[in-house]
């Protein structure tokens, strides 16, 4: 709790500090590669019956996903707090790579926790992290995925809290993480909204993003929350189908509970034990979800749906073939749902999808199918 209080204070100080904001903006421009483009996916739109589909190209961020937005911001905070060492958990490996990258850039010692199962699925990202100088610690406990890697990172943090900063990769965990990670990711939506208006003079009908922990989704939704006419849809991983029990759809198929220090929707059995999850995409394979998504669901501001492995893989292939853009399997879930909504809206429908990362890392998962 002491470290969380310190973090909250430092974060609020930094947020109000012009110097910090300028520094962050500089790193976003020159290191992350922002602003990322807004891309008109015309062939995909045609394929889905004539809707206008735009993609926010977070796949073009340095290291290949939106995760770096958060990692850069928190690395600057760690410098401010005088911490020497940074730890992180990772599922798909994109957050781990982003953290290993900022540690190389700013000279931090770096340890990344990753489940055995995810190390197998995402071996290329393991190699990238090691080349960047990070120690990758294999987590063999529990389900051997993101949930257990997060638990292990928290255990490391409470043990080494005086020297170490923990960069959580999503809008989960105890306060102030969900709020801080949202603030660092909202650049996605702020840019996208401005870009959309400048291209079209109007706002989209709907904004769609995939939700695991939910950081890219919160990042893009936050800018549109006050635009009452813009529908917002979060897409979770239905795995083999929500009814089969083999899924990772916490908001669609879970109940309120506490996981990793926040009260939100959680996949759990009747005794409050956290259930194993399944998704073809390691980045969505998490039994909890950011507490702000729970609020947005209950407030009925955002609609949450779930898309199966099969549909996500089909959307992955479709986007690759029609647009020459290979999406990560995570946003491929959102792309599938964009197709569903495109047919609903018909020609002229205006759809914005957050393409949160690129798909090179998923080659092995796709080949296996």
């Amino acid at each position: 709790m002491g470290a969380l209080e310190e973090l909250e204070d430092v974060w609020h100080e930094a947020k109000a500090d012009t110097q910090f904001q300028l520094e962050l903006a500089g790193h976003r421009r020159a290191f992350v590669g922002r602003p990322t483009p807004l891309y008109s996916a015309t062939r995909l739109g045609e394929h889905f019956g004539g809707a206008h589909i735009h993609l926010k190209r977070e796949d073009l961020c340095h290291t290949g996903a939106h995760k770096l937005n958060n990692a850069v911001g928190q690395a600057l905070l760690a410098l401010r707090m005088g911490k020497k060492r940074i730890i992180a958990e990772t599922g798909a490996g994109q957050h781990g790579v982003a953290v290993a990258t900022v540690c190389a850039r700013f000279g931090f010692e770096c340890t990344v926790y990753m489940g055995t199962e995810d190390m197998r699925r995402q071996s290329m990202n393991v190699r990238r992290m090691k080349l960047l100088g990070a120690e990758v610690v294999e987590v063999t406990a529990g389900t051997k995925t993101l949930k257990d890697a997060t638990s292990e990172a928290i255990r490391d943090w409470v043990t080494n809290v005086r020297t170490t900063h923990y960069i959580i990769g999503s809008v989960v965990g105890p306060h102030p993480y969900p709020e801080m990670v949202r603030d660092l990711q909202r650049v996605i939506g702020d840019e996208a909204r401005e870009q959309y208006l400048s291209v079209d003079g109007k706002l989209p009908d709907v904004v769609i993003a995939c939700v695991g922990g939910g950081s890219n989704a919160i990042g893009v939704f936050t800018a549109f929350l006050d635009d009452k006419d813009v529908a917002l849809v979060g897409v979770e991983a239905a795995g083999e189908g929500v009814r089969t029990g083999h899924h990772a759809a916490s908001l669609v198929g879970g109940r309120p509970g506490v996981l990793h220090g926040s009260y939100s929707y959680v996949l759990q059995d009747r005794d409050g034990q956290i259930l194993p999850t399944h998704s073809v995409s390691a980045g969505l394979d998490y039994p909890g979800v950011g507490p702000e998504h729970a609020f947005l669901r209950d407030a009925e501001r955002v609609e949450y749906v779930a898309v199966t492995d099969k549909d996500a893989i089909a959307a992955f292939k479709l986007c690759t073939r029609l647009e020459g853009i290979m999406p990560a399997l995570e946003p491929a879930h959102a792309l599938h749902h964009a197709g569903v909504m495109a047919r609903e809206y018909g020609p002229g429908g205006r759809i914005l999808v957050c393409l949160s990362g690129r798909g090179d890392k998923d080659m092995d998962s796709i080949d296996g199918v």
């Binding site: 709790m1 002491g2 470290a3 209080e5 406990a141 529990g142 949930k147 257990d148 638990s151 928290i154 255990r155 409470v158 043990t159 080494n160 809290v161 005086r162 309120p256 509970g257 506490v258 996981l259 990793h260 220090g261 959680v266 759990q268 009747r270 005794d271 409050g272 034990q273 956290i274």
Partner: protein, 267 residues
Amino acid sequence: MVSDTGRARGARSTRSKLDQALRADKDLKLVAYIMGGHPNRKRSIEVGKKLATSGVAALEIGIPHSDPLADGPVIQRAGQAALEHGINVEGCLEVAAAIAAEGTPVVLMTYINPILAYDPRKFAAEAAQAGVAGVIVPDLPVEESEPVAGWLRSASLDTIFMVSPTTSAHRLQSICEHSSGFVYCVTVTGITGARKEIPAGMKELIQQVRSHTELPVAAGFGISRPEHMKALRGTADAAVVGSAIVAEIDKGSDPVKLVKELLKACR
């Protein structure tokens, strides 16, 4: 069983059973930890009963959780094994009732999600019914402890909160004010599991706690050896030993032997 307790904060006219049992006289008191349902339900009752009558001041019984953030590998594995044998909150309350019948005070330790899933009001009532004296929930910070702590109090259960070496001064005071039964002093920054030495600064931390409360102070996490008992005697009221006992049970040996050895060093 715990009806003689009054725990209006600040004005403690009657001391709770735990408060009485854990107060060091000449000797350091010992609290032994076992995991409910580990290695299986029957055996955990047998071991618990034996430990309860071995001279310990209180027995702490863990209710397993799939994601035990505060626990090291030994207790994690014990919890996983217990869950695989099908134990749940209800089963652990039965284990606790059987052990509490021996007369030694029983404290439950678990995480907040199993309590929320069970229904905290029902949990409090049934724990009291089982003869439990107090409850420790390591992932329930004092700032977020209501209404659960209120339900525990109204069932006459002690609510034990934890302080650690990184707890800030203002939180330390608040934790002492909200605790009853005893204050749990985490000796290390980190998780449960036996360690070689008790860290420097332990004395100062316990002294700080004592400046805010009259409650007994128990030290835990990393405590496993007779030397540790000697180091804590005269500083803490009680020592909590967990992983070292659970490791004995894992090996199939009798943990009472270890407890006797530790008790000798408490005198």
